[in-house]
């Protein structure tokens, strides 16, 4: 029925009666509800209905009779006539995540809800969006390791193929198969993110209180069918292979897998690997296991038995973004681990820090200052932007670096991490060159062309 005016509030009539014992002297009685006026109740004394205002008045929860009711047991009663607004408090543990508005879910801002770093594939310090073809197991986009047993079977590139990412994303990790390779039983090809144990310690895995997690992600492939992946521990002795189905080719689909936490096995909670999250691109039987259950393995279970091989089809594509691993039984609104680009970059720099010019025209970019220790060596201290996972374990450099002084470049032929100079805050590097003057200061620079860089790694 149409009406004019404000939308009525939701109210309901809830019947009720308060009983009192008259004393012959007491005139005021306390009601169980607040009432607005005398007309909202009916007062009865000795089974005689009383006249509002004349026989009684109301103030809040107090009814006051003009004359004291006579003595009796429950000879005074008040019946409620009007609607009442009732506040309903949900019972503890009854409001689920999905009941909340999606905006509220996002606004809750649970710190580090998502344990995957660079989950939306925005940070690519190593390759800055260029395609790479891994020849050994190596990192591609930040925190994403390309695992393989055969060289050059697939390439990896941020935003490969330039398709439109899923709504809300600007980047994805793109894998392209470079041949039609028939995997053997001992082959594996996969994408791996190793989550540091400090970031999974609260999951309680390996204990009776192991928490359930949900892995969700957006995936798009030129292939359809059953694909696989896994979670496993540092040693590779415990694994949970999972499957998911890609239904339509070249279409972004969001998938989620819920996994009860492992109550056994050894799960590290230090700065070593806590959990390996793996997406299979073609995994042989040696490194596969039955999906949907925790299994004890001798060889790490990278994927589920029978999963589709991406590297088995020349030109096949496999794109991934929005990867989230969170506590709980369902996939919630995607958030990055850091919450902002800067915070996400800092999280990545805990494992890899690249320093270099921002443009190809930025020649003689100063990477840092050094002092030579001899005619062939100079030492340069790099202050790290964030505390790294460990003291750097590798140093990368490229596009000819030189030690520069007074207009002369001394080409650097090797850079190594000094055995005693690597800490989580600083790293002392030894640059090998020739023609240096001992105990003099030099500047380490990108020399003949732009693009020179220095990078320190403390990857898992």
């Amino acid at each position: 029925m149409p009406y004019l005016g404000n939308t009525p509030t939701t109210q309901s009539f809830i019947s009720g009666t308060d009983y009192f014992n008259g004393t012959g002297a007491q005139t005021a009685f306390t009601l169980s509800r607040t009432v607005a006026s005398v007309n909202d109740i009916q007062a009865v004394v000795n089974n005689v209905v009383q006249v509002p205002n004349d026989a009684y008045t109301i103030s809040g929860t107090t009814i006051t009779f003009t004359s004291a009711p006579s003595s009796g047991t429950q000879n005074v009663y008040v019946r409620y006539l009007s609607t009442t607004t009732q506040a309903i408090t949900p019972s503890q543990g009854t409001v689920s995540w999905s009941t909340l508005d999606s905006n509220v879910q996002g606004d809750l801002g649970i710190s580090f809800k998502n344990r995957i770093i660079n989950s939306n594939m925005v940070i690519d310090q190593r390759n800055a969006g260029a395609s790479v073809t891994p020849t050994t197991t190596s990192y591609t986009l930040d925190r994403w390791n390309a695992g393989l047993t055969q060289a050059s079977k697939y390439s990896v590139q941020q935003n490969a193929g330039s398709v439109t990412p899923p709504l809300g994303f600007t980047n994805y990790l793109g894998v392209t198969s470079l041949s039609a390779y028939s995997i053997t039983s001992s082959d594996f090809f996969c994408l791996i993110q190793a989550i540091e144990g400090f970031n999974t310690a609260d999951l309680g895995w390996g204990t009776a209180n192991a928490k359930t997690v949900t892995v969700s992600f957006w995936v798009r492939s030129s292939l359809t069918g059953t694909f696989g992946g896994s979670l496993s521990n540092s040693a590779g002795t415990r694994g949970y292979p999972f499957t998911y189905t890609i239904s339509a080719a070249n279409t972004w689909e969001q998938k989620s897998v819920t996994i009860a936490g492992d109550t056994t096995g050894t799960w590290l909670t230090t700065n070593s690997v806590g959990i390996y999250v793996v997406f299979g691109l073609g995994v042989g039987s040696t490194y596969s296991a039955t999906a949907g259950a925790w299994t004890t393995t001798v060889n790490r279970a990278f994927s589920a038995t029978g999963a589709t091989s991406v590297v088995g089809t020349n030109g096949a594509t496999f794109y991934l973004t929005g990867v989230q691993l969170e506590v709980g039984t369902q996939a919630t609104t995607f958030t990055t681990a850091g919450g902002s680009y800067g915070a996400e970059l800092a999280l990545c720099q805990r494992y890899y820090y690249k320093k270099g010019p921002q443009s190809s025209s930025d020649v003689r970019y100063g990477i840092g200052f050094s002092a030579s220790g001899s005619s062939t060596t100079a030492y340069i201290n790099i202050t790290l932007p964030v505390n790294m996972r460990t003291g750097p374990t590798s140093v990368d450099w490229g596009n000819t670096l030189a030690l520069w002084k007074g207009g002369t470049n001394f080409q650097v032929t090797a850079i190594t991490i000094t055995s005693s100079g690597a800490s989580v805050t600083d790293c002392l590097l030894q640059c090998t060159s020739s023609g240096l003057t001992g105990e003099e200061a030099y500047q380490l620079v990108a020399w003949t062309s732009g693009g020179g860089f220095l990078a320190l790694g403390a990857e898992l």
Binding site: T136, T137, S138, T149, G373, T377, Y379, T393, S394, V395, D396, W397, G398, N399, T400, A414, I415, T416, I417, T418, S419, S420, G421, Q430, T432, G457, E459, L460
Partner: protein
Amino acid sequence: MNKIITVKNLAGQDIYHIIRQTGEESYTSFPVQADNPNWIALKTAILEDKAQLQDADGNTMTAEQAKDFVKELP
């Protein structure tokens, strides 16, 4: 290819490092240390015939030479 070189550390001791060319003009290096994950991975790969090793002069070792060599390292 992984080249193994010797570099004197600050104390004047000879320390093995691996230098690997990763691109046309890009390299990576890491020390040969028992707890270095890069070295652990390379040593494993050499022992499984999945990686090769060069000496400091750039001569590629045979698989057996490389295995025997890395077995002596931490």
